[in-house]
Amino acid sequence: MSGGHDDRTVGSDAAAAPTDLPATKRVGIIGAGKLGMTLARTALAAGYEVAVASSRPAERIALSVDVLAPGAVASTVEDVADSADVIVLAVPVHRFRELRSDLFDGKILVDAMNYWPDTDGEDPELTAADGGSSVVVQAHFPGARVVKSLNQLGYHELDDYTRAPDAPDRIAVAAVGDDRLAVRAVMRLIDRLGFDPVDGGPLAKGKLLEPDGSPYAETLSADRLARRLSAR
C-alpha cells in the first residue's frame, strides 16, 4: 500500500463532504476495563485531555486510572457526558442499557463495544439486529450521534499498533455512522490516535465490523480494509 492516510470512503452518501465540526479536545471514556484504560492511555499519548468514568463512583476507579492511564481524570458518567467532545462507550455490552437514554444527547458517541453471546450471554435484541449492535445502541440513545468504531482490534493492539501518519506498517480502523459530521470527527480522532481511518459508510454497515469469525477483525492496511468493506 501507499502508506498514505487520506480518508478512504465506502458508501455512496459519504461523498457529500459536510463541513467539519470543531476539533476534538476532550475525549471521555465510559468503562474502566481493559479497553477503556487502553484507549485512555492511547488518547493521552495523542495529546487529548481524557476523562474516564464507570458505573462505580469516581474514587473507586481513581487508583486504576492513576496507575494505568496517568494524566487522565477519574470522573462520573454525568461529568464525562457533559464535558467531553467525543465519548467512547467501552462497557460490557450487556450493561449499556443501564445508562440513561438522554445522557449523550447531541454528543458524538463512539460505540466500541462488541456483542459476544459467548461471554455476554444471549441478548435477543442484539442477536436480531441485522444492522449490527450499534443500531440497537443508537435506538437506546436516540439523541446521540452514534459512530461504531474502535471495536475491531484486540485491546492490546490499540496499544501496540499505533503508528505515525506516514509509517509503512500503519494499520486501519474503520468508522461507520449515519451522522456524517460525527463520522468525520471520529476519523480525525482515529488518525491522531495512530491509525489510518476508513469511512465504512452508514451505521447499519457496522455488522461487517463485528466479531463473527470473519477477517474483519484483522490488522489491515487502509486500502485492504476499505476493499473488504466495499466488497460486501
Partner: protein, 376 residues
C-alpha cells in the same frame, strides 16, 4: 541479599490428546494420563501441578480435586492446585470441603487459583446468569475468604443459602490454604485481589506478557491502599511447549495451536489464526515454545519485567500427544526451570526489562513470605 523464593509450576487443562493413529483418545485415558503427568512433574523437580476447570468435549478437567487427590497419593512434595477454579459457579462451601480434604490427603500441599472464568460454559450448566458475573464472583470470594479463616461461620448472601454458626470440616491445619486470585488483565480483578489481600495470578494467553507490568504496579499500589503488605506474591500463567530443539518444538506445537485457536475463533468470533500470528506469539508473545535454552531465555526476562514470584506454564497446547507432553514436562523440570533460576539469580536474561513505574530499588525485593508452610 537473601535469595528470592520462586515457584515453577505446570498447568493442565487435561486436553483430549491424539494417539499414535492420529485419533482422539478416550476421556478416561486422558484422566489417567494426567495423573501420570502430575507424578512425572514431581519426579523432575517441578514445584506445583495445577489443573483447570472446563466442561467441554476437548478438555477433561471438570473435577480437578479428584485428579489432584490421585496425584497426591503417589507424590510427596509437589504442591497440588487449580490453575483456575471458576468460583463464580461453585459453591464456596463445597470448594472448601474439597480443598481442605485435598490438603489433608496431600499433607498440606493444596493450593488454589480462583477466577470469574474466561470459559463460561459452567454458567448455564450450573444455572447461573452470566450477566451477574461480577456480583456472583464478589459474593463468593467474600464468603470463601471467610471460610478460609476457619471457626464458626455465620453468613448470608444472594447466591447460596445462609450459614448460621457453621463449622466446616476438615479443618485446615495451618488455618490457611494458599489462595490466589486469577486475572486476565481486568483492572477490577487486580484491585479486587488486593482488597482481599490475596496473591495475584495474571493469565496472559496472547500478546507480550510485559505489557501486564502496569497491572502489577496497580496491584502493589492497591495493596498499600487497602492496608495489606505490598510484597504479596504475583504469578504468571502462560502457554508453552518444550522439545529437544526449537524446530521440533515449533513444528510439533503449530498444528495443535492452529486447531485450538481455529476452534476458539469460530466459537468466540475471533479472527482466524495464522502462522504469522503463531510465529509472533512464539517470538515475543505469550507462547514459550522451543528448546530448553530458548524457553528459559524467554521466561527469565518476562519474570523480571513483571516482577513475579511464580510462573505456571501450560506445558502443551491442544491435542499434543501424551508422549510429547511428557517430554515437555521432563525438559521443563530438568532443564528449563533450573536454567531460569540460574538466569534470575545471576541477573542475566534481563535485557528486555522494561521501564516500570516502580523504582529499581523496589524491584529486587527480598524473600517474600509467599506461601503457607508446606511442611507441617
Amino acid at each position: 541479599m537473601e535469595e528470592r523464593e520462586y515457584e515453577f509450576g505446570l498447568d493442565s487443562f487435561m486436553a483430549v490428546t491424539v494417539g499414535p493413529d492420529g485419533e482422539s483418545i478416550g476421556g478416561d485415558q486422558v484422566v489417567r494420563d494426567t495423573v501420570e503427568e502430575g507424578v512425572l512433574a514431581e519426579q523432575v523437580g517441578i514445584d506445583s501441578f495445577n489443573i483447570g476447570e472446563h466442561y467441554r468435549d476437548d478438555m477433561m478437567d471438570s473435577a480437578a480435586h479428584v485428579v489432584l487427590a490421585a496425584i497426591a497419593g503417589r507424590t510427596e512434595r509437589i504442591r497440588l492446585g487449580t490453575s483456575v477454579t471458576v468460583l463464580s459457579t461453585q459453591d464456596p462451601v463445597r470448594l472448601y470441603n474439597n480443598s481442605a480434604t485435598l490438603d489433608a490427603v496431600s499433607g498440606g500441599r493444596a493450593q488454589l487459583v480462583l477466577g470469574r472464568g474466561s470459559a463460561i460454559e459452567s454458567f448455564p450448566l450450573f444455572g447461573y446468569d452470566l450477566r451477574e458475573y461480577e456480583e456472583i464472583f464478589e459474593e463468593k470470594l467474600e464468603l470463601f475468604v471467610k471460610l478460609l479463616r476457619g471457626g464458626a461461620i455465620t453468613w448470608s448472601g444472594k447466591y447460596r443459602p445462609p450459614l448460621s454458626d457453621v463449622v466446616l470440616t476438615p479443618p485446615l491445619p495451618a488455618g490457611h490454604l494458599p489462595t490466589w486470585v486469577g486475572s486476565g488483565g481486568s483492572p477490577d480483578s487486580v484491585t479486587r485481589a488486593a482488597r482481599y489481600g490475596l496473591p495475584l495470578m495474571l493469565a496472559v494467553i496472547g500478546g507480550r506478557p510485559e505489557r501486564f507490568r502496569p497491572l502489577v504496579d496497580l496491584y502493589r499500589r492497591a495493596l498499600a491502599e487497602y492496608g495489606h503488605p505490598t510484597d504479596l506474591p504475583v504469578g504468571l500463567h502462560t502457554l508453552g511447549y518444550v522439545a529437544a530443539t526449537d524446530d521440533e518444538a515449533i513444528e510439533t506445537q503449530w498444528p495443535y495451536w492452529l486447531q485450538t485457536f481455529d476452534r476458539a475463533s469460530r466459537e468466540r468470533g475471533w479472527r482466524q489464526p495464522t502462522r504469522a500470528q503463531f510465529d509472533a506469539e512464539t517470538a515475543h508473545g505469550a507462547m514459550f515454545v522451543g528448546s530448553p535454552e530458548t524457553v528459559a531465555q524467554r521466561i527469565a526476562p518476562v519474570m523480571r519485567a513483571l516482577d513475579v514470584d511464580r510462573i505456571d506454564l501450560h506445558y502443551a497446547l491442544g491435542q499434543v500427544p501424551a508422549v510429547q507432553r511428557r517430554e515437555s514436562i521432563e525438559l521443563l523440570g530438568r532443564k528449563v526451570f533450573p536454567r531460569v533460576r540460574e538466569l534470575l539469580a545471576s541477573g542475566r536474561g534481563d535485557h528486555e526489562v522494561m521501564a516500570g513505574s516502580v523504582a529499581p530499588g523496589e524491584v529486587a525485593s527480598p524473600v517474600r513470605s509467599t506461601h503457607a508452610p508446606v511442611a507441617r
